[in-house]
Amino acid sequence: MAESYTTTKHAEGHPALQHHFENMEQQREAGTLGMWVFLVTEIMFFGGMFLAYTLYRSKYPAAFASASNHLDITLGAANTGVLILSSFTMALAVYGTQVGKRKLQLFCLALTIVLGLTFLGIKAVEYKDKYVDSLIPGTLIPGHPFSPAVQVPGESFDEHKLHLLPGATVKNVEMFYWIYFAMTGMHAVHMIIGVGLLSFLLVFSVKRRYGPEYHNPIEVTGLYWHFVDIVWIFLFPLLYLLGRHLEHGG
């Protein structure tokens, strides 16, 4: 396209072009590639935890199903929806910047931040519920050790008590909660970092730093944000859903 040629040519003098790149196009591709290499290290990082999860789930299936069934599926599913919506608004923010729709860019960046904070808020409610039921593993909370009340067969249903399936022990349920807090905790840390990055982007977007010629910071932050979304796409079924079908049968 002749038009794209002139755009690229014009962009050569762009103030954001670093001296070691030929043009904006080359700078953009290098940035995207660098982000992907970083995401590979992130995949390895979370991969180790997914490995630990898979190993212990296969060793103690009954305890993991019992512990999993105690999680709040409504809040978990709602958070999945919130995160998917935030990925959608993030993608639109990138699109808005690429085509020069400034209002869309600003609105979607702000909305993504709000949705990220909503996710963290719902997560905090869930953590508090686990605290109330004494399900924080070990003595992570001093003076409030892991000591859930266990439902006795024949007793009336109590949602705050642990319902152990046959073969499950409280000790192995604690193992599930170590993994649950490690994985969702690291995921939440990534969300907090993401919200921080998006806040910077929003401030610089208001100052008109990004547009069709220069939008790589928004694009690579988007890649990071979508990656964090993907981690949750796997965490939700693995932590909340597997074992659900045993809830009333086993």
Binding site: S4, T32, M44, A77, S87, I233, H245, L246
Partner: protein, 98 residues
């Protein structure tokens, strides 16, 4: 710019597909399937959703080959991590020592 700009309706279609996938996985989780099919179904839906995000939201479908190589390398090394670990753990009681 030579980069590909993904149209909004593609993003919208992916967003709807991701929501449907989430609803489907929740419904399927309460159904008692034979053998380990609950796990298989949950992981298949999650992998499908992740693939949609990678290809469209993360633009890999429209990216250059180097990005493809990096993504595939990540999956390959994850495969090594899982394959080698479980080839140890799952075969430990095949033989008894002493």
């Amino acid at each position: 710019m030579s980069e590909h700009i993904v149209p909004v309706k593609v993003y919208l279609a992916i967003f709807v597909a991701l929501l449907l996938g989430t609803a489907l996985t929740v419904v399927a989780a309460f159904h008692d399937f034979p053998w380990q099919f609950n796990t298989v179904i949950a992981l298949t839906i999650a992998s499908f959703k992740a693939t949609l995000v990678v290809l469209y939201f993360m633009h890999v479908r429209y990216s250059n080959r180097l990005v493809w190589v990096i993504v595939i390398a990540a999956l390959f090394w994850m495969g090594i991590l899982f394959a080698l670990t479980f080839s140890d753990y799952f075969t430990r009681d095949w033989i008894s020592i002493g």
